[in-house]
Symmetry: D2
Amino acid sequence: MQGESGGGVGGGSIDMIVIMQPSATEQQVEHVKQLIKEMGLSPHPIVGTELTVVAVVGDDRKKDRDAMEQAPGVDRVMRVLQPYKMAARAAQPERTIVRLNDLCSVGGDQVAVIAGPCSVENEAQIMDAARKVKAAGANALRGGAFKPRTNPYSFQGLGEDGLKMLAAARDETGLAVVTEVLTPSEVDLVSSYADCLQIGTRNAQNFKLLEACGRQPKPVMFKRGMAMTVDEFLQAAEYILANGNPNVILCERGIRTFEKYVRNTLPLAVVPELHHRSHLPVVVDPSQGTGHARLVPDMCRAAVACGADGLLIEVHPDPEHAMTDGAQSLTPEALETTIASLRRVAAAVDRTCG
Amino acid sequence: MQGESGGGVGGGSIDMIVIMQPSATEQQVEHVKQLIKEMGLSPHPIVGTELTVVAVVGDDRKKDRDAMEQAPGVDRVMRVLQPYKMAARAAQPERTIVRLNDLCSVGGDQVAVIAGPCSVENEAQIMDAARKVKAAGANALRGGAFKPRTNPYSFQGLGEDGLKMLAAARDETGLAVVTEVLTPSEVDLVSSYADCLQIGTRNAQNFKLLEACGRQPKPVMFKRGMAMTVDEFLQAAEYILANGNPNVILCERGIRTFEKYVRNTLPLAVVPELHHRSHLPVVVDPSQGTGHARLVPDMCRAAVACGADGLLIEVHPDPEHAMTDGAQSLTPEALETTIASLRRVAAAVDRTCG
Amino acid sequence: MQGESGGGVGGGSIDMIVIMQPSATEQQVEHVKQLIKEMGLSPHPIVGTELTVVAVVGDDRKKDRDAMEQAPGVDRVMRVLQPYKMAARAAQPERTIVRLNDLCSVGGDQVAVIAGPCSVENEAQIMDAARKVKAAGANALRGGAFKPRTNPYSFQGLGEDGLKMLAAARDETGLAVVTEVLTPSEVDLVSSYADCLQIGTRNAQNFKLLEACGRQPKPVMFKRGMAMTVDEFLQAAEYILANGNPNVILCERGIRTFEKYVRNTLPLAVVPELHHRSHLPVVVDPSQGTGHARLVPDMCRAAVACGADGLLIEVHPDPEHAMTDGAQSLTPEALETTIASLRRVAAAVDRTCG
Amino acid sequence: MQGESGGGVGGGSIDMIVIMQPSATEQQVEHVKQLIKEMGLSPHPIVGTELTVVAVVGDDRKKDRDAMEQAPGVDRVMRVLQPYKMAARAAQPERTIVRLNDLCSVGGDQVAVIAGPCSVENEAQIMDAARKVKAAGANALRGGAFKPRTNPYSFQGLGEDGLKMLAAARDETGLAVVTEVLTPSEVDLVSSYADCLQIGTRNAQNFKLLEACGRQPKPVMFKRGMAMTVDEFLQAAEYILANGNPNVILCERGIRTFEKYVRNTLPLAVVPELHHRSHLPVVVDPSQGTGHARLVPDMCRAAVACGADGLLIEVHPDPEHAMTDGAQSLTPEALETTIASLRRVAAAVDRTCG
């Protein structure tokens, strides 16, 4: 380094910083430089009086850089580069708008309301739900035919019969259908009925499923894992994008914390953060994100106020008798009131809703 | 029990439920009943074929009921009664409105904006900040004279000199002053200068400080601990109330979770939850609640949309040179823009702001 | 209820407790009783002066009881019954011992050491690793052929070629092979090579995979999800058991918390807790459970001291050059030293090790 | 920089790394360099093709470096230097041994057992407890006279009367007394009776209390906050050290996580981590660290196996009737059995116990 002016580093971006221990010897620094070169990267040490750091330049993401922590004299390894590319804002300056059908797109001026029951229970129930959420102002229909249940003895969904009922509900109402897929071998089946495939929080790092959803043509509603960092979330989304599907909607559904009054903690700051880092649209699920119907309308309003591109809301014609998630389902009447207030909040942030 | 009709239980409320192990003997159930009676409470067993539960009726909160977990044959002990009284909604049907001065009350139709620097740095800085936040539309001034710093070598605040500067800023601008107190012996001093005493997150279970703030006349802005449950928060607020001070403002400032993109995770569902459980007003601090200035305006809007009664916002005339919390401080210009948008969001939920 | 003596409840176990709000009316209590009966369960109210609770008796786990939270006048719903059956201690008084091959069983007096590299990188590496971990005293070989990687551009494993190399290593050393399976369609393939299938933390609620592993004959090493409660862990294990496979080994690999000095927080109290609740053997993975090789030996000792039935340890012949997880891999020499000390700790708790 | 060889940086240690956004302009880098110089530090930029990082050299810990995040073009700020000095291993090569009295030192070959009731309830109880824990093999007596209680209506301790009873118990048994202090104004009083002052988890960032304990002569048992990082823990310990008291014992008592089967999650990897970073002795509290007596003995064994220098164990002559913390208190008989097994585990790691 020539004085403090620094110097240009040819051949790539700064990938990480290796921090040596204060007691590290020159030989140890040499060894670290050697390891870096073996990886096809280039080392740029900065020697202080107390300790040395080595900047690493290059861009071969296949290598496991953390292994360098094991080299003698190394204190820590800090990553600098974002580990995702296609999901990054830098990859695409304009926002992605994901179109579900003529009536519903996610990511534009309109905040989409995707509402419906947790599970498809029978034809009458889903038809009733579809008509009522449409009347209440929703833009698309959600409903589960394949259900990931914590308990093996719980109701597991109607499977393909449920998909057919959802399709019938779409045929009548025109509402696009968003429904979950649980495993790669069912992706084609679900894709043939749905307008948008949902990947649930428990499968957020089921990479084989992400790949399979990346290779089919329908948009994907991708829910963050309940203990996933934002970096991991965007890397997982990258699995879908890198397999050929650009239509990914990110969905925040709450994270697991020490809090007890909610089923999950809904960290809404993730909405502007994801918009800051990525061009993908961001939807919020305040039903899973709280677990209690009485908290849902306020969290819908908060989500719209901080920039959410859509809401995923559980609505059941008769929540007390719902087979799944009754505690967090709104009635159709409550949905209607909620959407009315969301229109006012959306207008206050220069958007429309419902 | 006479069939399923159940029966009345005289003499009090149902306090807890003791769940016996499936293998518990009749003698063990008898022993549990005995322990309950020794506590001055009364036991009401319900005997199933697989297991027995014992409902416990009474209301002497001094007793340590969890000890019963140690009795042979006991599986678990579940609390039923809320452990706070004066803070509970049941204690007071109407909402508490806390008045700081003529210009600022918290808990009514107006959403209060309490803004200012993290620390009072010198007279010029706090005067400049006070004038600018007032011009931007803020209702009260925040600023720290006694600072709780993670690191012993960090700037610890100006102490009483800082309090005098805050008072001077109030004299000029008319803005009420909210400032932190760290220890019981300084409560009277801070109380003599401030319009509202702040108890910080690190002192949220410093019960001696809570008691001391309960015994002085100024309102208290009480911040939730960063790993405190809602039950613990309201019990801690009860320390202030029970010592004679009814003017408590609850403040959510973010909790500690696994998330890395924020300094704290801001769990906004706590706003409607606290309103559901308590009559006390609820303020949100999106500066501490995110740690990054770029996330603050969106979180302000979200907080107002879900019912917050006020906002505590860090604003510095020159954030790059702030002595503390620069990364999360807004400029006065950013505050002005933010308040303009908050007025629109507040109107959308039938309130005013700023 | 006849005084405090309570009464017998015919027809089943006490499943849950519904706590009514203090303000609940008699009609609301009647409505809750009605809902309970509609579910085929029976209600047993206990009426206090301040509030009423309703005990619910019956055992039909298909119903979504939480929906009752939506009934007017209900405050909370508390579960009493454990939601798993076959995994529960009550289902089987003696401990399950899972046999991997002649040299290695998990759950008996011997604490098993299952060691090897994170990934199979090539034949020379896995052969070298197998010989060295055997020489160091390990009882079985771990190694990944199908790797679940956070980043889509990272090394994804050698697939079937890797399985063949593992089988060759077993043929030479006699060590049983434990290797991960990622998706249902690959279960038969992995099962044909492995002695024990591993289900990773990211797939801990990939229920289709759990079911598929339940329907094949090899034992399953089942890792707890990084944000999974113990109740959820045992319910997920129940998916494997209920599909016909009794040979499940529970594996604790650390949970996600706010801590930063480790990759995961290793909550060792889960070892005695799982032994308390279940008859299944419990293995600890201190490599994933800390993320740093320097913490691994101490956590191995702690795990053995608190009753772990086995250890899953990442060992690489050359950690600095490992393709994955180098930072947390022991050298074979470190493994040997560690096993030597583990033998002493195991003896102190009346077991053997390695 | 002259090629890759790097260059020496005069005048200090590398304090932090500022990472610029890929889009940052030269002017923005210049502005950052200017800000660094204004802080009395010196900037050392490394320019890559994609982005630039600036290493910051110097050592003035009073400055708020995070404010730099606000400068235009800055992406992130990463700290390199440890923020504590006197607590750091580098400050003192040999381990600190803290002597409580002739019978008990913490930090040497002997693992100290500090046992006794959560609260002093009356003279008979504490005398009985002291005699019994001594007979069981404990080295020191714990017991609370000033109790920090979550609920304002709970038993708050006997105050100075309790201290006198503790002193009487010491006089008879010779056991050193460890007891909690809650507020600065009571430090002198507690210090006059106790052999070691305990600072509880709720006061772990009550900096005024830390300072007061730093200025009195007795050793301090300092408990980690329930949501405190290791960095914050050692910085808080530094408050005590920097105020003149070198006799600090670090105590891990469990952290708050999403886990439900325990009152707190006991992260034992913190024991070797603290030993790695600091010369101070480390004690584990498995009573608070689990919340259930049945988990305590296994966690004691695990703590000793991974290097703990002592154990803080709640023991009550009659746990079912304990006024506080009964659920997690051992009986004296259970303590005796536990210590017997701890002696074997301690021997297995070349130490003694009790």
